[in-house]
């Protein structure tokens, strides 16, 4: 009796393993099937999570809001002054371009996508467009505000996986805006990034804005990445490093754009 029970169990175990192996051979189809049936649930959960998070963060961060608000008011004044001077520059720029007969730079061709969910390992997002919609591997992904989110890691038929810039395997050339300081932006996992290989003689401050550099072929230049959070200088290291807090917040990501004509 006991023997047959064990044999039964082994048989069941073997069939299960065979089924899993079979599914493994058709992994693209299997994944696509599961993504399509779980897309509505995941999207709902993603949005519910956002709403609940907003509700609680409103309650718990009430004290900080006032302080933050004052900071923002100051920032707005500064930015308004900048905008005014930039508008002048823009008209001047347009005038000069016309007189020199240079057209404006090509705008990006964007593919609109929605976030479906997170991958099982962190720093991976799943979006609802795939190779059938013209998405290819390595295309850059940005938000509505032209903030860099990452690049396409895998493009399945109807879904794609986006490797965030905070992923451990992500690295690209970046530079500090308005200063000619170039370095490599690397992900360090768990939604954090750092700026590596910065020359030691260049001065970097907290709050400096990091953008993508023209040296990088994967991303178009001048896309916002984040701000410098902390500078690490050590006598032992030949270069200095800086921690970057990315501009995008995974908690606020709903709609994304894939740049289809970056190269």
């Amino acid at each position: 009796m006991k023997f047959s029970q064990t044999r039964n169990r082994i048989l069941i175990l073997l069939t299960v393993i065979i089924v899993f192996l079979f599914l493994g051979f058709f992994q693209k189809e299997t994944k696509n099937f599961f993504y399509s049936i779980s897309e509505p649930f995941q999207k709902t959960l993603w949005r519910t999570g956002a709403n609940i998070y907003d509700f609680f963060s409103g309650i718990f961060q009430g004290n900080n809001l006032k302080k933050e608000n004052e900071g923002f008011k100051l920032k707005i004044q500064e930015l308004e002054a900048d905008v005014a001077s930039l508008k002048e520059l823009k008209t001047e720029n347009e005038f000069l371009r016309k007189s020199l007969d240079i057209g404006l730079e090509n705008e990006f061709k964007l593919i609109f996508t929605e976030v479906v969910g997170n991958g099982t390992s962190e720093d991976i997002l799943i979006i609802d467009k795939g190779s059938k919609d013209g998405i290819l591997k390595d295309l850059p992904v940005i938000t509505e505000q032209k903030i860099l989110v990452g690049k396409i890691l895998q493009a399945d038929e109807h879904f794609s996986k986006v490797m965030l810039i905070t992923n451990k395997e992500s690295s690209f050339n970046g530079k500090i805006q308005e200063k000619e300081v170039e370095g490599v932006v690397k992900g360090s996992g768990n939604l954090r990034t750092y700026f590596d290989l910065l020359p030691k003689d260049k001065e970097i401050k907290e709050g400096d804005v990091v953008v993508t550099s023209s040296l990088d072929k994967a991303f178009p230049k001048g896309i916002l990445v984040g701000t410098v959070k902390e500078v690490k200088k050590s006598d032992l290291e030949p270069f200095q490093q800086a921690e970057i807090s990315p501009f995008f917040d995974i908690k606020g990501l709903k709609n994304l754009f894939v740049i289809s004509n970056s190269q």
């Binding site: 169990r9 175990l13 299960v16 393993i17 899993f20 599914l23 493994g24 992994q27 299997t30 994944k31 599961f34 993504y35 779980s38 649930f41 995941q42 999207k43 959960l45 993603w46 519910t48 999570g49 956002a50 609940i52 998070y53 479906v116 969910g117 997170n118 991958g119 099982t120 390992s121 962190e122 991976i124 799943i126 890691l153 895998q154 996986k161 490797m163 905070t166 996992g189 768990n190 939604l191 954090r192 995974i250 908690k251």
Partner: protein
């Protein structure tokens, strides 16, 4: 068979939860892996001679693999190894109160 279906349903709900809802409640960027925790707990508290734990490891690993970008089968392998390891340790060295069937 019924048990198997219930496990599939539970793990499917857990993986959906983990990949969408929990992202908003990460702790310094760290999202708990509910599936591996569940596999761990099932194996820890089930009776010594039952193998539901191994099944649950397979199903859980399968769902992790579906939503993972790594090659298929990696999580199945990891979770089965975890399950077998716990079973082995408990069988050899530990005595814990287990849920008995009525």
């Amino acid at each position: 068979m019924k048990e198997f279906l219930i496990l599939i349903l539970i793990f499917y709900i857990l993986v959906l939860f983990q990949t969408s809802f929990l992202v908003y409640f990460n702790i310094k960027g760290f999202i708990p892996n509910l599936i591996l925790i569940a596999v761990f707990l099932i194996n820890l508290f089930e009776e010594k001679d039952r193998i539901t734990g191994i099944y649950s490891a397979m199903i859980g690993g399968f769902f992790l693999d579906v939503f993972s970008e790594k090659s298929f089968g990696l999580y199945i392998l990891i979770s089965i190894v975890i399950a077998i390891f716990i079973k082995y340790v408990i069988k050899r060295y530990v005595r814990v109160p287990s849920f008995k069937r009525a």
